[in-house]
Point group: C2
Chain length 376, copies 2
Amino acid sequence: MSKYWSPFVKTLVPYVPGEQPKLNKLVKLNTNENPYGPSPKALAAMQVEIGDTLRLYPDPNGERLKRAVADYYSVQRAVADYYSVQPAQVFVGNGSDEVLAHAFHGLFQHGKPLLFPDVTYSFYPVYCGLYGIEYETIALDDEFQIEVADYNRPNGGIIFPNPNAPTGRVLTLQAIERLLQANTESVVLVDEAYIDFGGESAIALVDRYPNLLVTQTLSKSRSLAGLRVGLAVGHPDLIEALERAVGHPDLIEALERIKNSFNSYPLDRIAIAGAAAAFEDRLYFQQTCQQVIASREDVVAAMTAQGFEVLPSAANFIFARHPGHDAAALAAALREAGVIVRHFKLPRIDQYLRITIGTPEQNQALLDAIAQATQK
Amino acid sequence: MSKYWSPFVKTLVPYVPGEQPKLNKLVKLNTNENPYGPSPKALAAMQVEIGDTLRLYPDPNGERLKRAVADYYSVQRAVADYYSVQPAQVFVGNGSDEVLAHAFHGLFQHGKPLLFPDVTYSFYPVYCGLYGIEYETIALDDEFQIEVADYNRPNGGIIFPNPNAPTGRVLTLQAIERLLQANTESVVLVDEAYIDFGGESAIALVDRYPNLLVTQTLSKSRSLAGLRVGLAVGHPDLIEALERAVGHPDLIEALERIKNSFNSYPLDRIAIAGAAAAFEDRLYFQQTCQQVIASREDVVAAMTAQGFEVLPSAANFIFARHPGHDAAALAAALREAGVIVRHFKLPRIDQYLRITIGTPEQNQALLDAIAQATQK
């Protein structure tokens, strides 16, 4: 029936998300979800929304969530140095995947190649296919690190996750600043899906670099993958580029224009309330992130003792290989033992497994299954 | 900062949704929300989702909702005539606006103009701007009706709401069949946002017309504007065009390819559960639709008695003008009296008001405010 399709659809290769198994008994360490549930305060805020007012449209602008995010990132850094993020610098959407899609559409179509690492989030080339964006991949170094000097070439934009996925390796803000200083003519998008597990957010730089856009998700550190909320923070001029902001006629610009030409209400009432409360509950957030980080170090130590090479991780997952065992075979053996991890059949990384950090009990199940599989 | 924008963003004109006032005291009859709350069963189903499992991604395919929609539209029409809709014929998304966006992107880019009425949903030209689609508007007749014969001209697709918005006028399935028979080479999209208030759904035709796509929303008749859920139903071949359906390699096609290249999880866990339960609760749905329809007839009678010309409506709103009063002035006077209605400053309809049907109490407040305003 393809005569009815827009021609580009014929060659579109969609993203394939990690498996969502229907068996509850499996230890699910394949899609980097948080092993701890959402903040009780977030759940309570969502409860309030379950009622008659669901008949009404939500706030198309998600103001309550934008305020919560802005407050979270507005901090006293030193005496006489208060770093302020305004709600107008925050853009929110239906998961960071939607926010990224709008950013690709609105900021990366320049007839010059978008640059991203050869080993990275596999949705990036999919967006390029969706919006007809040319791209070039830049090889990670032999330690699977991003070398920012390699990005000094003509480009229509640069994007990378920090920490990178699926490697878990993190860049310092100093390295990101070098990249920004060498690349002032196009947008640098830092995708911080995993930043809260060990990196420093580049949101601290948005006031000084008008071409910096930082995206985050509530699916990982905020334990709300099931709610679908993501966000972007940028320079006031860049974000107001994303906002159809009445009262800022000079600055009515890119991402929000796209959003308001696509779907006026990407976030429902429950999502706005729950996401805002998740940002407000700092204590729960810090505690659960710390638990994940501590578990990660335990898992790294145990797997290293079992003969694995584990890349240094600043994320809620690790990327590891065993010199004596084929990764695909190992993933299959773990699955048979009831533990699902992710294996990518891709160049350079086909001997690695990406393993989400779970609860201590889940991690022990993983280590037991690994011990069994590697003894075969 | 526009050097960072993709060039097309510079000329993009976003959609402007109806006002969401922050004052609760206003009688809000401007965005066609349902005056009755969602089904208690839908609320209960959402409650169940507010908990620990929100840490996990939702089903990217929204299978539970697709099943509920398919069941709802699978009916015994006569002895030996069971009309079956399969879940694979259903596509779901974050409001029908998102579903429409994907349809414009995936099905209407053919280098020939998309056709739609001159007076219709004002988001259609916005999508054309977003995806670079050429369009031609076809004038409604003098009674503000769609004349299907006028669409017999070269096109890259046809779209219209049925009932049309903001007029409320409905087409019969016979008229829609004439249009489909005269237009087999491109997609006909029937946007049924308001169908449950007095029209007959074209979903009854999807098995016979491979180029028919029908979209619906849960924001109106299902009272879930605050939850953001929409859907499309089509011929198995057309919908599987929309599905990245593993196991249907020949039919992996348009809308679902787009969706899976844009955002794998457009519906959150709460939305899937609530929307499915809303479709399952037929009794509540029928009762509330009947109440709205009965109220509409009361309002039409009362406004006609007050000197208004009211177009015949099959929707949950009416489109009316008063020969003796300017519509913009009337809208302003109603607002001052605490009643918000929608006025479009657009050719042909700038003397009309679009008024959502509310509860009997809200409708009385409207009629009182009108009486006061027209006596001035």
